[in-house]
Symmetry: C5
Subunit: 85 residues, 5 copies
C-alpha cells in the first residue's frame, strides 16, 4: 500500500454511474504526484493515509459495493509510525 | 485513478476486434507521457479527466461490454478540485 | 494502453510451453525502454502500436487462447493521431 | 517480487475493518521510497525481505484470510544472495 | 514482459509456505534495479531472460501449481533479437 497526504476533494459532475456518489479525494504521494481515490472512511484535508490499489481497491468497498469502479481506495488514516533506530 | 488531459484522438484502422469501434483518446499525464484510453463518456480535446486502470478498466465498460479489451478507461470529466489550504 | 514502436523480434528457443509459438516482438516505449509483447495482428519493424497490459493482455488472445502466458499484447497499429491544437 | 528493508511499524487506529489487526510494516525500497505491507511471518526492524504485490498479496494470506484487504504482503526474510561473478 | 539478466540466487530459509521450494532468482533490469522471480525453466547466472508479472506469473506455474505465491515468473531464456535497422 502506498502512503499519501489528502490534498482536497475532486468535483466531477460528469462521472461514470458505476462510481455512484462516493467522495473522491485528491491524494499527493511522496514525490508530489497527485492521484484520485475513493474515500470510504471519511478523511480530512491534510490527513496522512494509505490506500490499496488494483483489484483490492474494489474489494475494499465490501461485498455490496464491489461493482463500484475504482483502482485506488483509502484504507486507513495513519497516526504515526515507529521508525527503526 | 490517475489524472490526465485529453490530447487528441487515435486513428487506428488495424485494431483488435475485441476493441470494437469505441473511441480511443490520447491522454497526457502530469509528466507529459501519453497513453491511450477507451472513452465511454464523450470527452473533448483539452478536458481534464481521470481514468481507471487494470481490471477495473474493463468493469467500467459495463456487464454487456466487459469482453472489450482495455486497461485504461476514462471515468469522469473533472470540473475542479478544492485544494487543501 | 501504452504506445510503443516495434523494434525487432525476440528469438527464444528455450521458452515456457504456455507461450506456444506466438511471435514475440521487442517494443520500445517513449523513454527508450524495451519490453516484450505477444503479437496477434502481424506487425512489422518500425510500426507504431499500442499494447494492453495485465489480465487484459490474456483476454486479448481470445477465449480459445486465454491460457497463453502474457502480460503485454499488441492490440493495434496506429495510423496517426489528431493532436489538440 | 520486490526487495525491501523493514523500517518500522505503522500505527493506524482508524483503519478499514477488512484489514483486521494484522501488523502493518513500513518497507523501504532500493530507492528509499516507503510502502506499507501486511506482515504474515513476523519480521523485525532492519530485516531484508521480499514482498508480493497485486492479487498475489491477498492469496499469500491463505484461503481463510483471502478476504483481507492488501496489495503488498511480506513473503520471506532474505538470508543472503549469491551474486553472479 | 520485461527483460532481465539473472544475477544470482536468493537464499531465504524463512519463507512463505505457499512458495514451496521453487528456486528464486535475483533479476537485474535495464536500469540496474533488482527483483526476485520464480524460476521454472532452470536459468543460469548471466542468462538474459524475460519474465511475466501480475496474475500471469501464477498462471505460468501451471494448473497444478497455480496456488503458488508469485508476482514474477521467468518464462524464457533469450537467444538474441533482431533489431530494426
Amino acid at each position: 500500500m502506498n502512503i499519501f497526504q489528502v490534498d482536497g476533494t475532486l468535483v466531477c459532475t460528469d462521472r461514470h454511474p458505476g462510481m455512484e456518489k462516493l467522495p473522491l479525494r485528491i491524494l499527493r504521494d511522496q514525490k508530489g504526484k497527485i492521484q484520485v481515490a475513493v474515500d470510504t472512511i471519511g478523511t480530512c484535508d491534510g490527513n496522512w493515509v494509505y490506500a490499496v490499489s488494483g483489484s483490492a481497491a474494489r474489494q475494499a468497498l465490501g461485498q455490496e459495493r464491489v461493482h463500484i469502479i475504482t483502482d485506488l481506495t483509502i484504507c486507513g488514516i495513519i497516526d504515526f509510525w515507529d521508525e527503526a533506530e
